[in-house]
């Protein structure tokens, strides 16, 4: 049997914004959406070894070996020039992790952790790895009290969710928009599967948090906010709903011309949602 490997863009040992408590976070490379508002656009695609980044690297950490772009982390100074010049929103600095590699990371950091979160990119594009990893954690005596979470855009179809949910403790789900035309504009994909995922996760008790990105003039319209309120009410008025705000940090391309979301507007919308009966609306702790 071929054990699955994950293509990992980044690992964090300390995160207090990716689920309950402190979490080790794996950011997997590759996404099935292409949102112009993405604040990690370099996680969207897998490297195609075009080599455009190699001459740009000031420390010589990038080379081409047998037609493949190779990254030497020991001399990389994390200037991220390679990400800036990548024509396809990929990342030459990814690392391959086996399940055992991640288990070792978890052992090393166990005293500090409440759990692990797989994020991205879109985590579920590497579903087999997540199933293998979560299954291994759940059956490991030293690790089984860690909670296993996924941060997802919800595009994974229902039958596939059913293969991962038995070993998953919770999912943070992004809903980008309710109007489907708007959703297509913002993600390149339709939202039917996303909304179905929200219901499925809620019904199986695994919906930890819904997240909604407020983009001025796009997702903050009265209609969108009303649809959001109705959607959450149909699940449970106490469903945790986190309002995220569109910012320019990390964004590339056309969305840099879009206005950013400001605190007073976020507070106003949060109040509207609360007036509509939602009891668990969370606003950002920090505005950049």
């Amino acid at each position: 049997m071929n054990l699955p490997l994950a293509t990992v863009s980044k690992v964090l040992k300390f995160s207090c914004v990716d689920g309950p408590g402190n979490r080790l976070v794996l950011f997997l490379q590759g996404c099935n959406f292409a949102c112009p508002t993405c604040h990690n656009p370099h996680t969207m695609k897998l490297c195609n070894d075009c080599g455009d980044c190699v001459p740009e690297c000031p420390t010589g950490a990038l080379t081409i070996v047998q037609g493949k772009v190779v990254h030497d982390a020991s001399i990389c100074d994390q200037c991220d020039k390679c990400l800036d010049v990548c024509p396809i929103n990929a990342n030459p600095k990814v690392t391959q992790y086996s399940v055992d590699d991640v288990l070792v990371l978890l052992y090393q950091n166990k005293p500090f952790l409440n759990g692990i979160t797989i994020s991205g990119g879109e985590a579920t594009t590497q579903l087999k790895f997540i199933i293998a990893l979560f299954t291994a954690i759940k059956t490991d005596e030293k690790l089984k009290d860690l909670t296993c979470f996924i941060d997802s855009n919800g595009y994974l179809p229902e039958p596939a969710w059913k293969t991962i949910l038995p070993v998953t403790d919770g999912v943070m789900l992004d809903i980008k928009a309710f109007n489907n035309t708007l959703h297509r504009l913002l993600t390149t994909r339709s939202n039917e599967r996303v909304l179905a995922t929200a219901k499925l996760l809620f019904d199986s008790g695994k919906l930890h948090e819904l997240r909604y990105l407020l983009i001025p003039g796009r997702t903050d319209s009265d209609e969108e906010i009303e649809d959001l309120a109705n959607f959450v009410r149909a699940l449970d008025t106490d469903t945790p709903l986190r309002l995220n705000t569109f910012q320019h940090h990390g964004v590339k391309g056309e969305a840099l011309n879009w206005p950013t979301m400001k605190e007073p507007d976020v507070e106003r919308i949060a109040e509207e949602l609360r007036s509509a009966g939602l009891t668990n609306v969370v606003v950002p702790a920090v505005y950049i």
Binding site: G21, N114, V286
Partner: protein
């Protein structure tokens, strides 16, 4: 007019000082116009070059640096000297403490330790309603900040879960005062989860309390116990520390040819010289100053044989980086495994030296090693064993890099973790970080949450808004990254305007 008189005159006319600050600086100048206790030539040279340092404690030590009274004595027995009856009610107990604090010296002439307050006050709380307890303690807290304005003044609560500890942490988070500093003593076998959570939530609110790891501290002390004073000095209760001297490890590394020379020759030499400096200062305090004739000793608030000497070090980061460079290695302290292990080795050598050197007039016959927080003019040196400001890795990596040091510093490690304000929505993450740190051997845990007005600089608290106000007056741009700012810069600011200052960091008039 002589130079000395000119300095006196300058202090009296300095418009930036309050009159109490003037009085303090005048007294320091007077003490320092006396000849220094006699040092041998080598020690005097090392002190002159500031490879070793006396923290500018003054030329004629006539009081211990840190006094850790057992305040239960004055509460239970009263005081003949102060004409106080034993306390019988909470009002009387608080009143007696307020009086007592004015008679407890320290290096700053203000008390650095105001007691394990829940232990002291709980016996008087049976008949007091929760509402009254809150009101009385809130007034007490306001009094402390306004009358004893020293950021190093330190209260302790815990490890038990009790009304006084809970109410004090609640008030402290509400008032967000600089003084007093606060330690919550945590013990997983004694403290409830609820009070531990309250302490963590309070850190998110106001960067206080500091949390002490009781299972690591308690075994080093006797049944009488310990207190945490100033910025994380863990000292025997009913005693304290006579003095705090320290070695500038960067300067030791600079005087070494390579790592071998550092360990074999240069470090042992300066370890010895710092001992000689310490002994000279202790000798003056015990044999010449007459301090131990004080009523504090006669009435049993403190005991002459319960004073240790704090043996401090700082600039570990610069020391390790200097030695790494001499060995042709690029890895930096805090980020590289080889560099970190070199640091741990230095700590171990220091610990063994301090544990095996017999010291006269010291509790248990020896000094206690301390990772020292710094002064306001440390010239680019990082406090204690800390990772330099602004280059700290994530909090977990940070703790993992430093944890091994903690076993070597029985009188405390001054350490601060800076946390992103996103922690506000997730206090459980902070709880887990503290638990992880303690499981790895951290003796104590302090954190700054980056949007709090109230933050720690080298261990004491300041209000960022005070600094911002000062900077506005001075015409400079407000630096929002002041969390990582050098204590030197901040220290100078503090010397000039705020009502509550950190007297330990400003041991001399510096104009």
């Amino acid at each position: 007019m002589s130079e000395l008189l000119k300095r006196f005159k300058g202090i009296t006319e300095d418009p930036a000082l309050s009159f109490t600050q003037k009085a303090r600086y005048l007294s320091l100048e007077a003490e320092n116009s006396l000849p220094y206790p006699e040092l041998d030539e080598e020690t005097a040279k090392a002190l002159e070059e500031r490879v070793i340092c006396d923290m500018y404690e003054g030329h004629a030590p006539f009081k211990p640096r840190y006094v850790m009274p057992d305040y239960s004595v004055v509460l239970e027995k009263g005081s003949t000297f102060l004409e106080l009856e034993p306390a019988t009610t909470l009002d009387e107990a608080i009143n007696s403490l307020m009086i007592a604090y004015h008679h407890v010296p320290s290096v700053t002439n203000m008390p650095v330790f105001i007691g394990r307050l829940d232990n002291l006050l709980l016996p008087y709380c049976d008949e007091v309603s929760d509402e009254d307890l809150y009101k009385k303690l809130k007034l007490f807290w306001r009094y402390l900040d306004r009358v004893l304005p020293d950021a190093f003044m330190h209260a302790n609560v815990g490890p038990t879960d009790n009304r006084v500890a809970r109410t004090i942490m609640r008030i402290d988070a509400e008032l967000k005062q600089i003084a007093p500093n606060l330690t919550f003593v945590w013990d997983p076998d004694i403290s409830s989860d609820a009070i531990f959570s309250q302490a963590c939530e309070s850190i998110i609110e106001c960067s206080k309390p500091h949390i002490a790891n009781n299972p690591l501290h308690q075994p080093l002390f006797d049944d009488y116990g310990y207190g945490v004073a100033s910025c994380y000095n863990v000292l025997p209760l009913c005693g304290g520390a006579s003095t705090l001297t320290r070695i500038n490890l960067r300067e030791v590394a600079r005087r070494s040819k390579d790592t071998a020379d550092f360990f074999e020759n240069v470090l042992p030499k300066y370890i010895d010289l710092n001992f000689r400096l310490t002994e000279t200062r202790i000798d003056h305090l015990f044999n010449k100053s007459g301090f131990f004739e004080s009523f504090l000793v006669k009435e049993g608030w403190i005991s002459r044989d319960r004073f240790t000497a704090m043996y401090g070090i700082f600039a570990m980061a610069q020391c390790v980086d200097e030695l790494q460079a001499k060995e042709g290695r690029a890895g930096k302290y805090g980020h590289d495994e080889t560099a970190n292990q070199l640091g741990h080795r230095i700590s171990k050598v220091l610990y063994e030296a301090v544990e095996t050197r017999p010291m006269e007039h010291c509790w248990r016959g020896k000094a206690m090693l301390h990772s020292q927080a710094g002064l306001s003019d440390d010239d680019g040196c990082t406090p204690g064993v800390r990772i330099p400001y602004g280059s700290e890795p994530d909090p977990v990596t940070h703790v993992q890099a430093l944890a091994e040091h903690h076993a070597f510093y029985p009188s405390g490690v001054s350490e601060i973790l800076t946390l992103d304000e996103t922690i506000e929505n997730n206090p459980v993450a902070l709880e887990q970080l503290v638990k992880g740190a303690f499981q790895l051997g951290f003796r104590e845990f302090s954190a700054n949450v980056s949007n709090n007005d109230l933050v720690r600089i080298t261990g004491y608290m300041v209000r960022l808004s005070d600094i911002a106000k000062f900077k506005e007056c001075g015409g400079s741009r407000i630096n929002t990254t002041v969390l990582g700012a050098e204590a030197a810069e901040t220290g100078k600011i503090l010397e000039r305007t705020p009502r509550v200052m950190s007297h330990e960091l400003a041991p001399r008039y510096s104009q």
